[in-house]
């Protein structure tokens, strides 16, 4: 279970330039749910995702994931938590353009120093699942947008995380690829993954398998 308790997040460039991204919000997500965070740009959706992923800390309040106060974790433990529990799909994929598909997907495994057989097995599983086995050795910058996104999803899932976070995942995709992505989410949901998607793409608002749609405006929940 993911719980955000009395979360306030203020970005402070300097004393006279403060932006309140989240204003005392409370949220609770159950395991296996697919949640869509809806809102315009700058509403605070991405901030919620970064707090759940322990990429940033709140100004006040706490984030609890499976009874662990992750907002209180020191940086080294936050990294460990991300590595073990979070799969992050970014709007611009954040792939390393000069590496191959295989190398990009295997990146999250490097800190665990796994043996070659384990790597091969995990790689084959995700490549088959997302139908990109034939592109295994291609350099990422030469792939199409849809293919790059499938690589990004594969990378997010290689560690078999319990929580998948997607920040504007369809912003760079056409309608067909966006629908394909929705199918992938549906499939992941059947595996009891908790999925949180931050988007303003209307394609997500009518999906039957979405459990909650939460609208955020100016850092508060509507």
């Amino acid at each position: 279970m993911i719980e955000l308790k009395n979360i306030t997040k203020i970005y402070e460039a300097n004393k006279h330039n403060k932006v309140t991204a989240l204003d005392n919000i409370n949220l609770k997500f159950n395991e296996g749910e697919l949640i869509v965070l809806k809102g315009s740009s700058g509403s605070g959706k991405s901030t919620i995702l970064s707090l759940i992923a322990a990429l940033s800390k709140p100004t006040s309040g706490e984030v609890i994931v499976d009874d662990k106060r992750i907002s209180k974790l020191p940086d080294n433990f936050a990294s460990l938590y991300r590595r073990e529990h979070i799969g992050f799909i970014f709007q611009k994929y954040n792939l390393i353009p000069t590496l191959s598909v295989k190398e990009n997907i295997l990146l999250p495994l490097i800190p665990n120093n796994p043996d070659e057989n384990e790597c091969d097995f995990k790689l084959k599983t995700v490549l088959d699942k997302f139908n990109i086995s034939h592109k295994k050795d291609s350099i990422v910058k030469n792939l199409s947008g849809g293919e790059q996104q499938r690589v990004a999803i594969s990378r997010a899932l290689i560690n078999d995380p319990k929580i998948i976070i997607a920040d504007e995942p369809t912003a760079n995709l056409d309608e067909k690829l966006s629908l394909d992505f929705c199918d992938i989410l549906k499939n992941l949901k059947t595996q009891n993954k908790t999925i949180i998607v931050a988007t303003h793409d209307p394609i997500f608002f009518d999906l039957e398998f979405v459990d909650k749609i939460i609208e955020i405006k100016n850092g508060t929940i509507i």
Partner: protein
């Protein structure tokens, strides 16, 4: 003021350390006063960030100060050539009223800086940062020992008079001298050396009983004694075999090139061994420290003993 490049480097570094240490002190006081790891307030989150900054500053100051102790000795040794009468660092230490106090304080600080680094390392490797408050409280104390060290160091270098005649180590470390160090010679060197070996064997025996929690205090105490006796035996006995001269007892001359800078290795082994030995008392999972202490102290003993054995093999007599 004596301004050799080495002295200048030390003073500049001290000035930089002091500025950063003041920043760390201000943060440490704030952290010590308001730290509450269970709080989810803005203040606590800010303190968590500031604790990371303060700890990083302190860590780098201490990590640099440790090897700088050896550089300090090297500097004393080097400037001894400019002081009439001085043959090595001992003459420079003895040249002012502050040298001996500074030297003792530096040794004390080495141990306490090392202890802070170990506590910090344990603290940041636990999710709930259990020793944050304690480590910053310790730093508040350490800041003042560091400050005194920097003031003493500045005063010592400032008050060295190049026209003054100073004592050489042969005079300072001699049974005929009336200095505090000469009191070592009132003890029989065989007795000191016997105690030295007994203490080493005691340490090794204690490591077999490390499952008993309170034995760690005994181990630390033995290490403190071992350090004191090791220095005494080095001056009164082992040093003479390093120099191959029965009357020369200086604990500094073997840091020089003529003796292949062996003193740096000797002191590094002794400091490391006794440091880890003392640390077992402040660390919960301390098996590693028992082992490290025993290894370094044994290597130290082997090294100094080898000079005695080699001398006997070469010459067929004891000094």
């Amino acid at each position: 003021m004596l301004l050799s490049p080495e002295v200048l480097a030390i003073q500049i570094l001290n000035f930089i350390f002091l500025i950063f240490a003041i920043v760390a002190l201000i943060l440490s006081i704030k952290i010590y006063k308001y730290w509450d790891i269970n709080s989810t307030s803005n203040t606590q989150y800010k303190l968590e960030k500031q604790s990371f900054l303060a700890a990083s500053i302190i860590k780098y100051i201490f990590a640099l100060k440790l090897p700088l102790f050896l550089f300090f000795i090297f500097t004393l040794d080097k400037i001894s050539a400019q002081l009439t009468g001085a043959m090595c660092a001992a003459g420079v230490v003895d040249a002012t009223d502050y040298g001996s106090y500074l030297f003792i304080l530096k040794i004390f600080n080495i141990y306490i800086f090392g202890a802070w680094l170990i506590i910090h390392n344990i603290d940041i490797n636990k999710e709930n940062l259990p020793y944050t408050k304690q480590k910053f409280a310790l730093f508040i104390f350490i800041f003042f020992t560091l400050l005194i060290e920097i003031i003493l160091e500045f005063t010592m270098f400032a008050s060295i008079d190049l026209n003054m005649l100073v004592s050489c180590c042969g005079t300072i470390y001699s049974s005929a001298a009336s200095s505090s160090t000469s009191s070592i010679f009132t003890f029989n060197s065989s007795l000191i050396v016997s105690i030295f070996y007994i203490l080493l064997v005691s340490q090794i025996i204690i490591t077999f009983f490390q499952k008993y929690t309170n034995i760690k205090y005994l181990f630390s105490l033995v290490n403190i004694l071992f350090f004191l006796v090791a220095i005494s035996s080095l001056i009164s006995f082992f040093g003479t075999y390093i120099y191959e001269l029965p009357t020369h007892h200086c604990p500094f001359c073997f840091l020089q090139k003529e003796y292949h800078y062996i003193g740096y290795l000797i002191y590094s082994l002794l400091f490391a061994g006794t440091f880890f030995g003392i640390t077992v008392s402040i660390v919960k999972s301390n098996q590693k420290y028992y082992k490290l202490s025993s290894i370094f102290n044994s290597l130290y003993t082997l090294l100094v003993s080898s000079y005695v054995i080699l001398f006997y093999i070469k010459n067929g007599v004891w000094l």
